[in-house]
């Protein structure tokens, strides 16, 4: 309930800002404001942007301003900016400015995921900015960032809780009936410790890194949605996204971890 509210309020605030800027002549100051954007101070983001100045409107992050549990911060990313007629988003990158490794996840969007609204849960080990960068087929870039205050660090969480069996119990929730062209909400969850490789076990030895790296959704032979995950994704990775299928078929979900193990789940989809 608060999730959609957050996206809306972020958008309306942006509109207010736009109108205000024109009136007061703040356009002069805009370059200075931009110089402090989080993505300009993050090497990984600069590398992705490759010298281009991203458009700061269109992409919206939905994150709590304050989170009491840095080990699982709910994150939503949505695009509702303007694009040229034949243009579409090809990938969205999520980065964290204050984590040991900045990369959180990369989502590759295909022909069948033209409604970019994605949710997941991420680890943040201190108060920091989360940055999202999106690229389009025709080479436009969009960026947005938001600060999250973390009151209990993802690193303060004790690691002795019982660990889930890796790649067990994949769960998928998807409507089996959808009208062609409509956005179909898909929710997925799978058990996996997503061990970062940065923690110590109770014996003081570092626990080896063990994470799901790749998540792929196929409809028939076509890749509909793809996600590359890093260790900043919370244990038991949760992904919610939207597909815009044009015809019926079999949806195949596949999770693959860094030890080469994989899990699969299939759902029948009927498009009318």
């Amino acid at each position: 309930m608060s999730r959609s509210w957050c996206i809306k309020s972020a958008l309306s605030r942006r509109k207010v800002l736009q109108h205000g800027m024109a009136g007061v002549g703040l356009i002069m100051l805009a370059p200075f404001a931009w110089a402090s954007e989080a993505w300009q101070q993050l090497d990984a983001a600069q590398h992705l942007l490759n010298g281009e100045t991203p458009i700061a409107q269109g992409l919206a992050l939905d994150l709590p301003h304050v989170s009491e549990d840095g080990s699982a911060v709910p994150l939503g990313i949505k695009f509702d900016g303007e694009l040229a007629d034949n243009d579409y988003l090809t990938d969205i990158h999520l980065l964290a400015t204050g984590n040991p490794q900045p990369e959180i996840a990369t989502f590759r969007l295909g022909e069948l995921s033209r409604y970019p609204e994605i949710s997941t849960r991420v680890r943040l080990n201190e108060t920091q900015h989360v940055v999202a960068i999106a690229k389009t087929h025709q080479g436009q870039t969009f960026a947005v960032s938001q600060e999250v205050r973390i009151t209990v660090s993802g690193c303060l969480m004790r690691g002795e809780d019982s660990q889930p069996e890796p790649l067990s119990n994949p769960r998928v929730s998807v409507n089996q009936q959808v009208a062609a062209g409509d956005a179909l909400e898909v929710r997925t969850l799978i058990n996996h410790p997503m061990e970062t490789g940065l923690r110590e076990g109770s014996d003081g030895e570092p626990l080896p890194r063990h994470i799901i790296e790749q998540f792929t959704v196929r409809l028939g032979d076509e890749i509909a949605f793809e996600a590359q995950l890093h260790q900043s994704i919370s244990a038991n990775p949760y992904l919610r996204f939207h597909l815009t299928p044009q015809q019926s078929g079999e949806l195949v979900f596949e999770w693959q971890d860094d030890q080469g193990e994989q899990a699969q789940h299939t759902s029948e989809l009927s498009v009318s």
Partner: protein, 348 residues
């Protein structure tokens, strides 16, 4: 209604009931310990009856498969032999200093007692100091340095019996002991409050574990506890646009409202304040001790004493005994505090 909204509304209703019952009956573990030291055990029996009711209801729901208590915060693979008892003692003694636990202070707050505003605020601040603030690294160091693994996590595992059987073997005799006093039987205010407060614990497990169940966005299994949720409530009041409401905060809000409504209906609403700086300092120190101790002990007199005990977790038993010992030390013996007659409702 989403499963999260449903859980929150259930929390409000549970809080309203707790606030109403607490206001009308004066349900309070400290009062039980203090009165027992003077020969009146009715309040203590009400607390024990609540514990027995919670134990039976919780284990029965768990046996029916509604939720798995191993997902709760009380069933842990290890516990700190130092932090947990120390926290219990701190909480118990702080409760005697501040003249009431967190839940009692919320009820009194709704009845117009401004002293409990100070207690609630300092308890919440103390909890967050230890949970995520300046004392958090020290707490985590202490907990890790003194952690011992638990091969069996609950009493049921220890005696190799199913939870519902242990609950019956423990809960029924405790309830029978509570009712063995003629004074207690003749005081419906006390035994009704014990039964209702006790049944709110399984209701809380049901709200978070069944109403809040969702494969993809589960609500953390929890029931009534009043240390971290009071801190979270203070934080929510200040930062509500940036955070999300939780079950514990909904319960806290419900209790204040329920106590207020009941106090107004019973014409028992009276503005009350501190009589002097000494009393105020005592409440502030006691509330800080409750906040910090409650985080070390993973719960308060209700959170560990009733909710934790309802899971049959071994650490909850240790924490409850230490809370009782701390409260007793504050009431009787060399460390005993002078009784603050004015801090209790003076017309009693």
């Amino acid at each position: 209604m989403s499963h999260i909204a449903l859980t929150l509304w259930a929390g409000v209703v549970i809080g309203l009931l707790f606030g109403a019952v607490g206001q009308a009956s004066g349900f309070c573990l400290l009062r039980g310990v203090a009165n027992s030291a003077k020969g009146d055990s009715r309040k203590l029996r009400a607390f024990m009856l609540a514990m027995a009711t919670a134990l039976l209801g919780t284990q029965w729901l768990a046996a029916m498969g509604y939720f798995s208590l191993s997902n709760s915060l009380y069933i842990t693979p290890s516990f700190s032999w130092l932090a947990l008892p120390l926290g219990g003692l701190l909480f118990g003694y702080g409760m005697a200093l501040a003249n009431g636990c967190g839940a009692r202070s919320l009820v009194l707050l709704g009845s117009g007692n401004l002293r409990s505003v100070v207690v609630v605020m300092f308890l919440g601040i103390g909890a967050y100091i230890a949970l995520s603030g300046v004392l958090a690294p020290g707490r985590i160091y202490l907990e890790q340095a003194t952690s011992i693994p638990l091969t069996t996590q609950d009493i049921a595992g220890l005696v190799a019996l199913p939870g519902w059987a242990v609950a019956s073997l423990l809960g029924l005799p405790i309830a029978a002991w509570a009712f063995s006093s003629a004074d207690f039987r003749a005081s419906p205010r006390d035994w009704v409050s014990g039964l209702i407060v006790g049944s709110l614990i399984p209701a809380g497990w049901y709200a978070t574990g069944v109403l809040g169940f969702d494969d993809f966005e589960p609500v953390r299994l929890a029931s009534l506890t009043f240390v971290a949720p009071i801190g979270a409530s203070l934080q929510y009041v200040m930062l509500s646009t940036g955070t999300r409401l939780s079950f514990g905060v909904a319960v806290v809000g419900g209790i204040i409202l329920g106590a207020l409504i009941t106090a107004l209906i019973r014409r028992d609403f009276h503005w009350q304040g501190f009589q002097g700086p000494g009393q105020m300092a005592r409440s502030m120190v006691g509330a800080l001790m409750m906040g910090i101790g409650g985080v070390l002990a993973l719960g308060c007199s209700i959170g560990q004493g009733i909710t934790g005990m309802s899971t049959l977790a071994l650490p909850s038993l240790i924490a409850l005994l230490c809370i009782l010992l701390g409260a007793y030390l504050g009431v009787k013996g060399p460390l005993a505090l002078s009784h603050m007659a004015s801090n209790h409702r003076s017309l009693h």
